[in-house]
Every structure is written in C-alpha cells, then in structure tokens.
Subunit: 273 residues, 4 copies
C-alpha cells in the first residue's frame, strides 16, 4: 500500500529585514522577522524529487527584501498582504500563502535614535484565491500586578497541596492574536487601542482566576473594537511563589516571593462574537 501525503507545508522562517524611512525632521525605523509558507501543487517534489514547481525558499527571502524596498513597512499589514499577493499572482499553482511578521519594537529616543523594547508586534496574512484573512497581535508583553488577584474555592482532591490565597502576585507574558473583519483597517490605531485595553484591563481587574482575567481582557477588546471579531489570548501563569520563611525564623507577610518559570500554568482561550 503506497504511503500517502496527508498534508504538506514548506517555506522560509526567520527572514530578517529592517528599513529606514528618512523624513527631513526624523527617521522612522522598522525591524521585522518574517515567516512565509506556501501551499499548492508541490506533491511531485515529495514523491519524485521533481523541483519544477518549487519556489526556492531562498527566492522567498529575496522577495521579502524586494517588496520591503518597494512599499512602506509601517504598518506591517499591507506589506504582508503585498507579499502574499505576490506569490499568488506570480505562480498559478500556488493556492495559498501565509505571511507571518513579528515586528521588533523600538521606542524613540530622539529623531534618529531608538531603544529596543521587549514586546513584539505580530501580523499574519493568510491569502487564497478567495481572499485574505488578516490577524494582528502582541507577544512577550510581560505584565505583573502585586494585588487584585486571588485563587480560592478551587476543586480539591487528594493531590492538592496548594493553599488558597486572596492576594497573590499575578504575572504573565501576554500573547494576543486577533482577527480583523477586513483588510482595510487603520492597523496602527487598532493595535494601539488593543494594547492599551489589554494592559488596562489586566491592571484593573479583580481577578479570581487567570481564566477570568483572560476573558475580561478579550471581552473588552471585542466590545470596544468593532473591526475585530475574534481574539485568542495565551496567558502563561509565571508563578511568584511565597517563600516559606518559617524554617528561617521569620514570618512571610506576603512580601517575599520566589519567581519561577518551571513549571508554569498555561491558560488559553479564543473569544468570539
């Protein structure tokens, strides 16, 4: 019985490109990592080593450079749309192109200098001959609050040793990816509102569980931004555990914590209208 190809995927990852946009009074600077994937009639390459329909991943990389030279990179979404479109219009056997962009964020120090931040801005375009879907998002947005977070009333079984707490540290590295209802949004404005909303709700919410705060964050985005109809949030629970100081002759008045990355809880959900 011959072995079948159930699904296939190929492309180029971690294509780095940066661009300076020079204005008389200041420079704009974009710094991107691009991942590209193509879907189409590539089976013969797997089955028979026939490369005649294979767009080399090196060509994908060159295409990133060329289109980056041609169009504005701010915001990134139209650039990703242009890239996806290129592959579909140039190659009739390509059925779908997926372009994922992570933008490294630099905050301005002066008209020509920048300091790198920690979080990433994400954009993703999936384009077929029927149209395009645009996602945007944030990653590595590391947030922490020192109060307004409890975890009580949970299920106990014989392996439960965790004490309940009405006041704990809540720390997380937010990954949020939302879907736009169209490809002609004011992407920068929408991104800024989302980012602001996610941070504000995180800070203000009286959290009884990471799950509840996650829902509150996503709900607020969907309620306030009509251009978004779905949002997926991943909130790892980066634990700051109270240190037991009793063996050291001290009481821990909920002040001293051990930060730990291993193990960590993971809370995830997709919210939709």
């Amino acid at each position: 019985m011959p072995t079948k190809l159930k699904d296939i995927d190929y492309g180029k990852s971690r294509v780095r490109v940066a661009k300076i946009n020079r204005h008389p009074d200041r420079h704009e600077f974009s710094d991107l990592t691009v991942d590209l994937r193509l879907q189409g009639s590539f089976e013969e390459c797997y089955l028979a080593g026939d490369n005649s329909l294979i767009v080399p991943t090196d060509t994908m990389k060159n295409t990133v450079y060329t289109i980056a030279a041609d169009v504005d990179l701010d915001p990134v979404e139209p650039f990703a749309l242009k890239l996806a479109e290129h592959f579909l219009t140039t190659h009739s056997h390509v059925k779908a192109a997926t372009i994922h962009v992570a933008e490294h964020r630099w905050s301005r120090v002066d008209p020509h200098a920048f300091e790198q931040g920690q979080s990433l801005r994400l954009a993703e375009v999936e384009m077929t001959r029927d149209g395009a879907t645009v996602h945007a998002g944030l990653d590595h947005l590391v947030l922490l609050k020192t109060t307004k977070s409890a975890f009580e009333g949970y299920l106990k079984d014989r392996y439960t040793t965790l004490p309940e707490t009405s006041d704990r540290i809540f720390a997380t590295s937010v990954r949020a990816v939302w879907r736009y209802t169209s490809a002609t949004v004011d992407f920068n404005a929408s991104m800024e509102r989302c980012r602001r909303t996610l941070i504000d709700v995180f800070a203000a919410h009286n959290s009884r569980a990471v799950q509840e705060t996650l829902y509150a964050m996503g709900d607020r985005v969907l309620q306030s931004q009509s251009e978004i109809d779905e949002i997926r949030l991943t909130l790892p629970n980066k634990h700051y555990l109270p240190v037991n100081l009793k063996p050291l002759g001290l009481e821990n008045r909920n002040e001293i914590f051990l930060p730990t990355d291993e193990p960590h809880g993971v809370i995830e959900a997709c919210l939709t209208r």
Copy 2:
C-alpha cells in the same frame, strides 16, 4: 452581544521530574519534562470566576510526582496513559486529558553514570472517555550529510538568485512524531527501530530536495513498522552556504561553508497509509 468562548485550554507546562530505578547491578535513570492539558466544563471560571471545577495546575504537578513514584517511567508511554487516565477517572467533568512528555536522553557511561545527549524522546497521549491515542517521536535529532544532496531544476522567477547545485551540505534538526495504532505496543523497540530508520534513510538517500528525503524517511517507517499508521516530519533546512572566496583571491572547491540558522527553510509533511 455577549462575547462567546470558542475554545478553551488550560494546564501545566514544564513539569520536571526524574526517577532512579535501582537494580543490584546497575541503575536506570529517567528524566522527563511533562506538559498537561485538560478539557472539560471549565467555562464558568472564565465567565464568572467560579473555580469550583478547576483542578489547580499545581495539583497537576503533584499528580505527576505521585504517579511517577507509583509506576515505571521506562517506557514513558504507559506513564503518560496512567496520568491521563487519572484525570478522567477522578473528575467526571473532565472530558479529555492530553499528556505530552519529552524525555531527556542520557547515554550510559557505567552502571551508575550517564552522559546527556542532545536529542529528546517524545510521547503524547490524548485520552477521552472514548479511548486514547498514543503518539511518540523524536526532537532535536540534528543530522548532517556532506554529499548525496542536490537542489536543481527548481522554478526560477525574477527574484531567484540561488545557484543550482548538484552537491551541497544537507543539515537538519529532525522532529518526527508518529501515531501508534494501539496503546499496547512495545514502545522501546518501536522507538529504536524508528530512530535507526530515520537516521539510515537520511544518510543513504540520494536527495534531490529536502521534501523528497522527508518522504523517503517517513515512507520507510510506515512500510516497515505496522504498529505505526501516520508520521509527521519537520525538517528545517539548516543552511551551510558555500562562502564566496573570490574576493579573497581563492576558489572555493565546495569545501568552505558558512553555517547559518537565520533564515532557514522549513519542510514539513504528514504521511499516512
């Protein structure tokens, strides 16, 4: 319009546990990283902060320790099955449990000492009340061959600058995950055969494309191991690019290469019977 929960997921990641199994003449040693996810009736926690059905992720961690003390960890698959089963039998509102295990491989130095290798052994159990699916695999198996790899006859467009080559370096970090047809396989023997097959086919194959070699590797596994009915292979193309020595007054007779991780090609496929 109220915001809906489309899908939800929670659990614990990176739970580390190790176990010594002491025999008179030698020790066996297992070293695992476990990820756990539960699915079930957890919506009220997201919507109303009601934790009464939430199994804390800390309890999941404790459960890993307890069951690791109770059962043999070699092979890992029965341990993962036992873990999944525990959550389903203990909690009637849990509909599915997914247990992912990465085993850090240690090769024996003497009866009680070991040297750590680079590759990981993977096992994954997805269990519902209808039964269990068992996957196994390998990750970070880094392979390289210095010949028997070409890349020619590919599609050229105006952004293609890559020269064709009949003899290049082929380097990859294999990730392979296969599905067993049952949960009562001789897991260690099957793993060893798979590992051997993947390495042997990689080394022997006359590669005209990474895709073709990927198919050959997966095909051989499916043809020779009836206990496996599906295999997914991910073969990033870790490029070793010929260095252009002409500006330095030398010719590169296909001898000097620049290893680079960024960017890299990604070739992936799922093969099935």
Copy 3:
C-alpha cells in the same frame, strides 16, 4: 609531584527573589537575580572532602531570602552590602564575599501593576575585611541609531572586502559597569544620571568608529559624575548590513538592511580618571 590548588571559587548562581513593598497609595516591586561567591579557607574540601568549613550554597540561598525580608531592596546596593557583610561577620574563615545582583526592571502601569522592560540594572559588591568596593551598571540596554555613524579610513589588507561608509546603522546592546568611590552614594540618582548620559551621548555623537562613541559615552559619565572613578563599557556591534539589491534589479538607497547577530564585532574598554 602533588597537584596544587592555584585558585578556588564557589557559590550560588541565579538565586531569584522578589519583594513587594506596600505603601497606602502604591506598591513598590523589586525582582532580583543574585549570584554569590565566597573566598576563604576551603582547601581541605577540595583536597580531602572535609566539608566542616563549607557554607552550603543552599544556605547562601536561604540567606538571600532572609536578608531580603529584613531590608529594603530599593536601591539594591545596600542589600548587596548587607549580604556580603553577613558572610564576613558570621564566618571568621571567610576572607571575601562577592555579591552580584541583576535587577529585572519593571515600569509602572498603575499603582499596583507593571510592565517588564528589557534592560537589567546591575550591582556588585566585593567585600573583604579591609572594606568594600561597589560597582553598578546596566546590561541589555539595546540602542540603535539610523545616522551619525560612519566607518571610513580603516586599515586595508588583502582580506579586506568591507566597503567604507559615511552613513550606517549603529546598533548595540550596551553593558556598562562603573565603580563608585564610596559605599554611601545616592545609588538611584546616580544610576538614573548614568543611564540618561549613556543614551544621550550614544544618540548625539557623530560616530567615526564604535570605539570613539564608546569613549565619548564613558568620558561623559566620568566628567559629570564625581562619585564614579572608573567605567567599563562593552558595545557589541550588532550589524545591520545593507542588502545588495542589484541582483534583484533594484538599487538600495541605504534603506534596506539585514539585521544579523552572527558574527558580531565586540568593542570594549575600561575608562578611568
């Protein structure tokens, strides 16, 4: 001929500790990674397995927790001084203690919430029975400027292929460590001034070489802050290389760059009065 111990060193690395300082109107939050090293009469442990003078590294960790509970962690320098002092006063056979602290920086979002930044604040105390030396610094301060950076007129030999440029991107991850002339400085104010100076000089300097900018940055710190008498700067040259677009039929008007971490230049110097 017996083997001699030329120098020995032991301690604990990556001790993580965090502390909340609760004020009525706001919380302060400190998040540290501490490394500790002791010097003293530890030879018999190496030579004969005699542990009687060995302070376990686990005890060092507990000491970090205890002293963190006892004293303010903002600024970190007095905390590090207290830690070092503890080991010297408690154990007469300890000759020197070195405490290295990396503070993870969190910027305030609201009175009780914070967003993590990328750079680290450093403090190091080396204490012997003759006194203490206090260093402070910054790490992972990633800066970039899009102009005011040239590299011309350098030495050419037969292996030189780099074209001269009067206008390049200059990107670096600053590590700066300076020495205080006393242990009773206003550490927070001094840190803020240093950080401001390093960023401002980096942005404003007309750079003819990374070396020249490094000197200008350190020189300004030493000229303007009398409490500092020595500064060591490490400025890796994180290259943003102009992409050659000619083979793609385009001209690169100094706009499109390839960011690369591998390889990278390293420029380092210690400046003193």
Copy 4:
C-alpha cells in the same frame, strides 16, 4: 582631568565556518565558531576616531574563511595558531592576538553523514611577539551519577535548612580548560585522553563534595598527561532535589527528584603542578 583608557579590547565574535575534507572512502567534517581579539596601538581610534590602524572586524572574519580554506581544521589548534600568527606578521602594530575556537562535535553515522552531539571542543591560542600559549578544553559535557555522591558534615548556621545526605544525585555540565606546555602536542590524542579521564573519574569517584570530585578529576589529568601543566574546571551543581512526597501520602525512597537549573551551585578551581 582627562579620562584615561585603562584597557581596551576589540575583535569579532561568533564567526561560523565549516569545512569538508573529502577522502576517497569518507568525508571529514569540521564545524567551528571562532572568536578573535586583537591588542595593540588602537588608542587613537577611541580618542580621536582615527581608524587608520584599525583592522576591521569584517576583515577578521574574512581571514578566518581564507585560512580555513588553506589549512587543515583537524585538529583545531594549528588552525588557531596560524590565525594568530597571521595578524602578528601582517600588522606590526598588533601586539597580541587571541583566537578562541569552539568546535561543534559531530559523531559519524556513515562515511558521509553525522549526528550532532551536545558537547563542544575548545581551543584557545594567545600569541604575542614572545610566543604562544595554547589552551584546549571541553564545554557542555553534561554528566550525571545516581550514587557515590554524599554531602555531609558541612558548616551549619542559623540559615541552614539543607538536610545531610549520604546518597544524592550529582549532575553537572563540565567546563574544563587546560594549558599545554608546548604548541606541538598531539592535540587529538591529548583531547581524547582528557575527555576519557574526566568522565571516568567523575563516574568512579566516591564524592563527599563537588569540590573533592573536581580536584580528583583535575589531579588525574595532571598526573597522567605530562603535556598539560594547568587545568581549570568549572562544575555547576545542577541540582536534582528529592521531592517531598509526604503531603501526597507517599514516602520518597530517594527515587523521585525535581531537576532544577535555578538556582544552582557553582564550584570552580584551577589546578597546577
């Protein structure tokens, strides 16, 4: 008062280069990461932006490629010597060159295929006009033993909570760097003997402290290899802590452990004749 340059350093890091050596019956493969540093009359670059004596770090990179094309890379020490010599003979104002090489180890699968291992082989050459010093070593050699390791009889103070143990897991990532008495050693044979000795002594030694085992390892190398006159060993104590199973209703018969990298002990010493 003008600011003085106390010490300066510059060079290129993470220069990657690989080479195939084609024999009729098999290929040899070398895969290196090279770091280079030059010392000399470079002050005017720092003080006045004068680049006329600066060898660009890009040229250093090209020199690595060129000399790699010219000489055998196995063993790496003569290659590093040749590189250092190049800078001293070509540039009269260069006073010293330091070449550090990390060789990625590949174990043979067949005559033309390899699997990557985890540990690195190190070589370092420091050359001045007075001669060269050659160091070699190993890094990321991760070893673990499940018995023959105790930690008892240590100093207790009021912050000590660690229980004594006569039988613990001892895991470490060995970094060993030794100095050769000459530059004309059989480097491959010496490396193999060292590696074998370090592993064998680690496995066989009845350890009462990491320090004692470190000394035993280095002592054996110095006693058995006359071409080596100094060895520096760094043995981080990668803790595998016994899990407290009592709250889970079980006893831990020294079988179940929590591997943790944070925090970890660090034990280091330099041994000499």
